[in-house]
């Protein structure tokens, strides 16, 4: 499985990657991007199965990146992880096609449940 982790903060990317359950992490190929523009480019070049996307980033923010990724691949699985926990932000990312959203920071136990959820989303898309 290929996972793309997008966040302008190196610490945040590291925390997110470490929160992925080890049994899943060791079977994954993990890519990283520092802003939305880089995320869109890496999505197109590497076709990840799951994208974890921050919203507040320089150059191109997460909203724009999400919009461009979904336009490029309507079946893309993009899960937003952000400090922005406004209901309107959540509504907006879901309208744009995100598979879900959680607030930062993600603890390992929370990430386990996110993965169960995303596996279910992937299964439904394959059906």
């Amino acid at each position: 499985m290929k996972i793309l982790v997008v966040d302008d903060s190196g610490v945040s990317r590291k925390m997110l990657i470490k929160s992925i359950p080890e049994n899943i992490r060791e079977k994954c190929e993990i890519f990283q991007a520092e802003n939305g523009l880089e995320a869109v480019e890496k999505y197109k070049s590497d076709s990840p199965d799951i994208v974890f996307l921050d919203l507040t980033m320089p150059i191109m923010d997460g909203y724009e990146a999400l919009k461009e990724i979904i336009e490029y691949d309507p079946s893309a699985i993009v899960f937003v992880i952000s400090a922005d926990i406004q209901q309107k932000a959540k509504e907006r990312v879901l309208e744009l096609g995100a598979s879900g959203m959680e607030s930062k920071p993600i603890k390992p136990e929370k990430m386990t449940s996110i993965f169960y959820y995303l596996m279910d989303v992937i299964d439904k898309k394959l059906d």
Binding site: G10, V11, M15, T56, M57, S82, A83, I85, P108
Partner: protein, 207 residues
């Protein structure tokens, strides 16, 4: 200040999260949508504050400074510094346009509105930071100081026992209003030592 580059990066990310949480509280309170910006975070010595504030007052019309003490494992004082324009934008955020027509807008309204916002911003930001580090803080009532008394406040702070300052340069962007402000978190060496250990423990939970 005894912070490694890694410590600073972790602190920056946690303040980013804490600041986001504070802005969201303000947005929810006034039923506005806020566009979150990445705050710029810097660790500076308290001695640099005087020079910084003098420049802001003289060149950028900064007129209001709020102060608020907090206590806990992490203890110290927050300062929130804004210019006249941002202070007026805060007023527009707190009051509906129809209310602004009917109230006599003078500096007391601006000060009350600014105190409200500074209280939420500082307390939520420091409170959330402490919560992320599995601790808690309590807050004293915030105070507001105008241009004429800012430099004497700073002199008092410079003579106090604060050893370090976390400088958070902020933009609060709502649908109709933009508020630029500087948030400073002052603390003493024992608090900084606690903070550094807590940051390391936080990261260990991911290893």
């Amino acid at each position: 200040m005894d912070f490694t580059k890694d410590d600073q990066e972790i602190l920056g990310e946690l303040i980013n999260i804490a600041f986001g949480s504070a802005v969201v509280q303000i947005a929810d309170l006034f039923d506005r949508f806020a566009k979150l910006h990445v705050p710029s975070i810097e660790l500076i010595s308290p001695q640099k504050l005087g020079v910084y504030f003098e420049g802001k007052i003289d060149q950028e019309g900064y007129t209001y400074l709020t102060t608020q003490r907090f206590n806990g494992n992490f203890c110290g004082e927050t300062l929130f510094f804004v210019n006249e324009n941002s202070a007026r934008n805060i007023l527009n955020l707190v009051y509906e346009a129809s209310e602004l027509d009917s109230i006599d807008v003078d500096s007391s309204e601006i000060k009350e509105s600014l105190l409200e916002i500074a209280n939420i911003l500082g307390a939520s930001c420091v409170g959330k930071l402490s919560e992320l580090l599995e601790s808690a803080v309590t807050f004293a009532a915030p105070k507001i100081n105008e241009k004429t008394s800012i430099l004497s406040i700073l002199k008092t702070l410079a003579e106090s026992s604060y050893d370090s300052v976390i400088f958070v340069k902020t933009i609060l962007e709502f649908e109709d209003e933009q508020i630029s402000g500087d948030l400073f978190i002052l603390s003493r060496s024992d608090s900084i030592e606690w903070l550094r250990d807590a940051l390391n423990s936080f990261m260990e939970s991911y290893s």
